[in-house]
């Protein structure tokens, strides 16, 4: 995945008074662009134990059910590597993002 471009450069005259912000639901805050490494799953090794699903601090894994694996949503995965660290089968590799 290529990193999303900075959406807009804020200009001096456009900034809100007091540098305020309004609360957003976390779904609106795409933390995926913080990532410098991304989890890549080797399905041949995965035993569908679900550790990655439970340990991910951002809850980005989706249970793929019949297909018996968990899929990370890269819009939100911030690349912490906890899933790879916790995976008992070493099925997740953290791969450098291209800039």
């Amino acid at each position: 995945m290529t990193k999303p471009a900075v959406e807009a450069i804020a200009k001096v005259g456009d900034l809100p008074l007091g540098f305020i912000g309004r609360p957003k639901r976390s779904r609106a805050a795409k933390t995926g662009d913080w990532r410098s490494v991304r989890p890549v799953l080797d399905r041949a090794r995965c035993n569908y134990c679900g550790f990655c699903y439970f340990y991910c601090p951002d809850g980005v894994f989706q249970d793929m059910g019949e297909e018996k694996y968990y899929q990370a949503d890269l819009d939100y995965c911030k690349g912490c590597g906890i899933c790879a660290h916790e995976c008992p089968k070493k099925a997740i590799a953290m791969i450098q993002e291209e800039v």
Partner: protein, 388 residues
């Protein structure tokens, strides 16, 4: 209680806060500011001022509470001095960034160490760069009037920034002076109810002063710099309106017998009254000397000051704060940096005077005039009246 009254200047300031109908006062007592907040506590306790008085546990909390109160839409006042302002420092820098219009009076007192109670400007200069508008009062009437004006300027939607008013500790705060006390209807005409430009509201939640990553921090700070510079227009407008309602005229920069002066002395605060008397006495002896007084210190009144210095051959800048390790005081630095690219070529000299409560006399100003007319290429500011 309106009309011409004899009153402690501190009490006159408290009366101005009452007339302004402040909603919240958050303060911690410290000499020589104590009388101001003590009087305000009395006014609140006696029901003469309908405000919340927050007796905080430190000046850091005084400013934190003031920021919160102003952000919630309350007209907010605080006062401090010296070490109190130093303790408050972190939050002093936060207030302008949040664009909350707090009014703070600083009863100027020397900063430690050695521990001191006397008056100079070393406390206020520690927040010189913080983004507050900053004024210096010369006498009791001005302390009262500028307190009222401070609320109006701070709360103007074109400004929405905190305003600080410096009163020389003891020399103003502890002196009884005759003051013209305005009546409530005049004040109400001058000072409309506070309508915040940014406001905390539980029905429409916001966060203030959010994290600014490197791609926007500089833009946010530049926006503050521009806001502070452009606040000068509102200062002048508010002073005009003040004159219309109360009949007293204030300007960002005052001049006294400076039109044809060869030597111009620049001062701030209460010592300017002594300086004017000294100017009269020197004029009687035939010396072409005049005085320029900065009432507005931040934003620095560049155009007004250059205009006032246009005819001067010698400019003598009085400083009441040492920048340790630097050859000039803060006012000296500012004047030199302003003048050096202006096309004016006066001989600028810089003098430290009245540090830590040392009396400032007419003789000091006479000495300064002589030195200003005689010394060339002064590298470092001279300490006046220091025993060596």
């Amino acid at each position: 209680m309106a009309g011409r009254l004899a009153m402690d200047v501190s009490v006159a300031v408290a009366e101005a806060v009452r007339l302004a109908n402040a909603d919240v006062i958050a303060a911690y007592p410290i000499t020589p500011q104590t009388r101001i907040v003590e009087r305000l506590a009395e006014l609140v306790a006696n029901g003469q001022l309908d405000a919340d008085y927050i007796p905080v546990e430190s000046e850091h909390s005084a400013m934190s509470s003031s920021i919160g109160a102003a952000a919630a839409g309350a007209r907010t006042f605080t006062a401090t001095s010296s070490q109190g302002l130093a303790l408050m420092n972190e939050m002093v820098y936060v207030a302008p960034g949040l664009r909350v219009p707090i009014v703070m009076v600083v009863a100027n007192r020397a900063i430690s160490a050695p521990i001191a109670l006397g008056n100079d400007h070393s406390d206020i200069m520690s927040v010189r760069d913080s983004g507050w508008l900053s004024f210096f009062a010369e006498n009791g009437q001005e302390a009262l009037d500028l307190t009222l004006a401070a609320f109006r300027i701070a709360e103007d939607p074109e400004v929405s920034l905190p305003v600080c008013l410096s009163l020389d500790g003891f020399i103003l705060t502890h002196i009884t002076e005759p003051v013209l006390m305005p009546d409530q209807t005049e004040v109400d005409r001058f000072l409309p109810p506070f309508k915040p430009s940014v406001q905390l509201d539980i029905k429409d939640p916001i966060s203030m002063g959010l994290w600014a990553p490197p791609d926007v921090y500089a833009e946010a700070r530049k926006a503050m710099a521009l806001a502070l510079f452009s606040a000068k227009k509102t200062v002048v407008k508010a002073f005009d309106e003040f004159n219309r309602i109360f009949g007293r005229r204030y300007r960002p920069v005052e001049t006294y017998r400076q039109e044809d002066a060869e030597t111009v002395i620049i001062s701030m605060g209460s010592i300017s009254e002594t300086a004017m008397t000294a100017v009269d006495e020197m004029r009687d002896l035939g010396h072409k000397v005049g005085l320029v007084r900065l009432r507005l210190w931040r934003p620095f009144p560049e155009e007004e000051l250059l205009a006032a210095l246009a005819g001067a051959k010698n400019v003598a800048v009085v400083d009441r704060h040492l920048i340790l390790g630097c050859g000039s005081g803060p006012v000296g630095l500012e004047v030199k940096s302003l003048v050096c690219n202006s096309g004016l070529r006066p001989n600028i000299t810089n003098f430290f005077l009245g540090l830590g409560g040392r009396d400032v006399t007419r003789a000091n100003f006479k000495y300064i005039r002589e030195r200003a007319a005689g010394v060339r290429n002064q590298l470092r500011a001279e300490f006046v009246g220091v025993y060596e």
